[in-house]
Symmetry: C2
Subunit: 379 residues, 2 copies
Amino acid sequence: MSPDPIVLVRPVLPALEKLRAALDEVLRSGVLTNDGSRVRAFEALLSARLGIPELAVCGSGTTAIQLACNALRLDGEVIVPAAAFPAVSQGVWHARCTPVTVDVDPSFLTLCPEAAQAAITERTTGILAVHTFGCPADIDALWTVARNAGVPLIFDAATCWGITYRDRPLLSYGDVSTLSLHSMKLTHSVEGGAVMSTVREVADAVRRLRNFGVGVEGAWTAGTNARMSELHAAVGAVVLGEADNEIRRRIRVRDWYLEGLRHLEWIQPVPFRPGAWPNVASMAVRLTPDGPVNAPALCAELMRYGIHARAYFTGRYRPRGLATAGPTPVADELGTRIVCLPFWGGLKENDVLRVVDAIDRIGTRRTLAVGLARRRALP
Amino acid sequence: MSPDPIVLVRPVLPALEKLRAALDEVLRSGVLTNDGSRVRAFEALLSARLGIPELAVCGSGTTAIQLACNALRLDGEVIVPAAAFPAVSQGVWHARCTPVTVDVDPSFLTLCPEAAQAAITERTTGILAVHTFGCPADIDALWTVARNAGVPLIFDAATCWGITYRDRPLLSYGDVSTLSLHSMKLTHSVEGGAVMSTVREVADAVRRLRNFGVGVEGAWTAGTNARMSELHAAVGAVVLGEADNEIRRRIRVRDWYLEGLRHLEWIQPVPFRPGAWPNVASMAVRLTPDGPVNAPALCAELMRYGIHARAYFTGRYRPRGLATAGPTPVADELGTRIVCLPFWGGLKENDVLRVVDAIDRIGTRRTLAVGLARRRALP
């Protein structure tokens, strides 16, 4: 009998009675969407928890990027990292800007400031860096690049709930920061996203854009329907109550992984930038180039053990046909090197041991197979 | 004591126990979104009810337009009616096409085929007509224009659930048709939309586009997150069970309006195209140019009676800064002439009488005021 599958992420779900009560209240009110009281309450809750007054929620982390670009009135090239989830360039594209990919840092996987600097042209209208797998981008260096170019600096902080950097929420950096509240994130509203800003005008513009851009003088072309429903906001408020527990659980899960992976030389956790803590976004690992298996192959083999892992920078998730400012050798290489292992607070120590054990077996079997093939080739 | 307000639309909500049970099942499953089994089941349900095999749901009626354009690979000008809800041009714009507005028919308010024909250029990549307030566009004439130009014909049928035209669902016309499942529509999934097509490739492309465009060879740039959540799909399936009852209720409400408005000469229901039935999308009326009040003023005055009406073609809802193929005198005039009155199945005869009575009072008072002003001006 094969054991239960270990999925990549399972949504945080508080006690069903609490969720039921919240949903029931929405149904009884008869107001199911349209920027109602629960969306406003959820915004206030997120805002208070982060200490960021200018925050507006929306339908998804992808539309958060789109709305951020449109709220900032960007209308040219936007520099984005070449190794990123497709939503990053797609949000920019649907905002009718041109995403231009540049290479990333080989260690932290975040947008390379030197490459970004080299990609600046007179058409550059913004820089969108990603806190990749929760690791802060090189904020200081990117800030200098953006300020010298006179363009806003946006951080896609999709996975960064609960992470602090230099004693401030990582979500509070940049001119604008975007968050995902998708059900696979540490805290979520089923589907959802948010835009955080340092200025009121941006949050107000996002609120207007998400509701067809309507306002006294007419409707903005860049408007759309990117509202969060009252049902989703109600779930979000309840789930948020579990966030601190989920952070604690993920810290523990991470420790089990670090302990388990320690003796495997060909697989290393992707480092977290000093000053950032805790690393609760994902369990990203890097495979050494001379190791027994590459990222897509490891994912495929783990699936045979009922373990879901994902190589985000290659295959199905690799954006096609984007403009690029030049070669991106680091990002190209990462496609075969980076894997995200199952990571969520509900994992038990035994689950983590199963994942580590499967990785060990796959590596050992592959190493042996190579050795045997060599031996067979001898006279 | 002022009476209860009469809102424009109240969402159809089936018995709470049914909704609770459906939501509970989703919560227990632990799968809250990501194109799960409830989304697929809801798609199958809609598909079966309409007799349209190629149907894909998505996050909203606005994104349905966006996804339809991207699924058809449109990349130039798209002809749209100058009198339309902002979502129409916004969906086209976010698909990175250029909406070009042309005038509408003065009687049925739908896209004028002659004006569309005159607006065809070598950059035209599609025609997007709207079944305005549920009234079928001039399908035959537009079909000829589209076929002669060699571009697809798309119908925004956002409000058209339950309407048949020439004994077929109105949603089944055109190369592609889009539906809104927003909570203010006859049947809904809180927020939601759908794309119907005559070919499988379009529905498959919509399913891929809504999920970041991921596929074996990589992710399409035009992808986004436009999924319907499992919670919303579960609500949609239950609400759909109420649709036929809601149609019957709306037919009755409409009859009360027609009876009540019959004696007012300055306000007339917008006609429905022969061959279409029943007119259950909205209660749109036209004010005569020489009548006592125009559309925005009537809405403002009705609000003083606690009655919510809306002039969709002007003010807050008028899209700004769109390209136009030429003058649009009819659409411009409609802004001051067309009003949607409260319309939903839960309205009682007494509510409708209150609306009609308020309209009558407003008209009479204004007429008297004009007469008195004239008299004061005499020597």
